[in-house]
């Protein structure tokens, strides 16, 4: 009797029955958290765009472009999550999911590109340029490849930001490097979650790390707002 109970307790059927709703809830929470990413990304993009208008800076233009892409990427991923709340919305199509991931990866690319241009302007070889993308396309799906590229681009941003900190010694630059590191870890878990889809906790871990990182990236926007720079009509 006891043996049967233990067998039943640990049987795959029972575990699946308990795990499935839990996993579904985690995914739903994760998808809703994407909207924080949307808000943070568009806020950063807005401040950077204001900078472009006032100073014509190409560095800020690249930063704004990166966060516009990231914002739309998170928006698409968040909307896909709404499919669970509004069942008749046919948003789970693979093309839409891949599209969201493509937007996100493009955003990370522009972030890395900003640093690459900064490296060229400062006439130095960035330490991150030594990191070449090492990935395997063994019949991997497009999602896997995009996730890996996203991870690589953010990692490049992390290394360059840390290098920038070593030059400027600004604590807020180090703080941003921490934020990017968390996003980098998040994108790594995103990649892993695609490879090991049966480990549900990876997706939630990815979202939590990514959102924590994005909230840290929001601090320069808060600082900018706090200074209350009255910049309209400067140029």
């Amino acid at each position: 009797m006891i043996a049967e109970f233990i067998t039943l307790l640990y049987s795959k059927t029972l575990l699946t029955a308990v795990e499935m709703p839990l996993q579904s809830d985690m995914v739903l929470i994760g998808d809703l958290l994407q909207f924080i990413g949307v808000f943070v990304s568009f806020s950063i993009a807005y401040v950077a765009y204001r900078g472009v208008r006032h100073t014509d800076s190409s560095a800020l233009l690249r930063l704004a472009t990166a966060f516009v892409f990231l914002g739309f990427g998170f928006l698409v991923e968040g909307l896909v999550g709404l499919d669970q709340l509004v069942p008749f919305l046919p948003l789970t199509a693979t093309a839409i999911v891949v599209g969201g991931l493509l937007l996100e990866t493009t955003g990370y690319f522009f972030l890395a590109f900003s640093h690459a241009v900064d490296v060229l302007l400062s006439k130095r070889i960035g330490p991150a340029l030594m990191l070449f993308p090492i990935f395997t396309i063994s019949g991997a799906q497009l999602q896997n490849v995009l996730s890996f590229f996203a991870f690589y681009f953010v990692l490049y941003g992390v290394v360059e930001t840390i290098y920038s900190y070593s030059r400027t010694k600004r604590p807020d630059t180090l703080f941003i490097a921490l934020g990017l590191s968390l996003i980098s870890a998040g994108t790594f878990f995103q990649w892993l979650s695609l490879l090991y889809q049966y480990v549900g906790v990876l997706s939630l871990l990815q979202i939590i790390l990514q959102e924590m990182g994005l909230l840290i990236l929001f601090t320069p926007v808060l600082g900018f707002a706090r200074r209350g720079a009255k910049l309209d009509g400067a140029i």
Binding site: V47, A48, R50, G51, H54, T55, D56, S57, S58, A59, L60, L63, S114, H115, D118, L121, S122, K123, R124, G157, E160, T161, I162, Y163, S164, Y165, T168, R170, D172, T173, F175, I176, A177, L217, T219, P220, G223, F224, R227, A229, L231, G233, A234, I235
Partner: protein, 95 residues
Amino acid sequence: MVQYRTQVRIIADVLSTARDMNTEGTGVGITALLRRGNMSYSRMTKLLSELVGSGLLTELNGDKISKYMISEKGIQFLAAYHSFEDFAQSFGLRL
């Protein structure tokens, strides 16, 4: 380490010089701007005419030479530049 300066950085440098060296309120001569701006005469005169044209600098015509003074718009531009420079540097980037 030698670094390339972006156009906006050069403009900010020239405006900062025009502001900081104008201690007597009579403007700053092109020689002082050249010394601090680290660029050729022809490039500086072209830039100065652009800055005067856009209202960031005011040209004071003297007896022999022209002097330049930062305008209110130029001061606003510098404030904006430093705010956004701070923002960009937080992300490890330079304007």
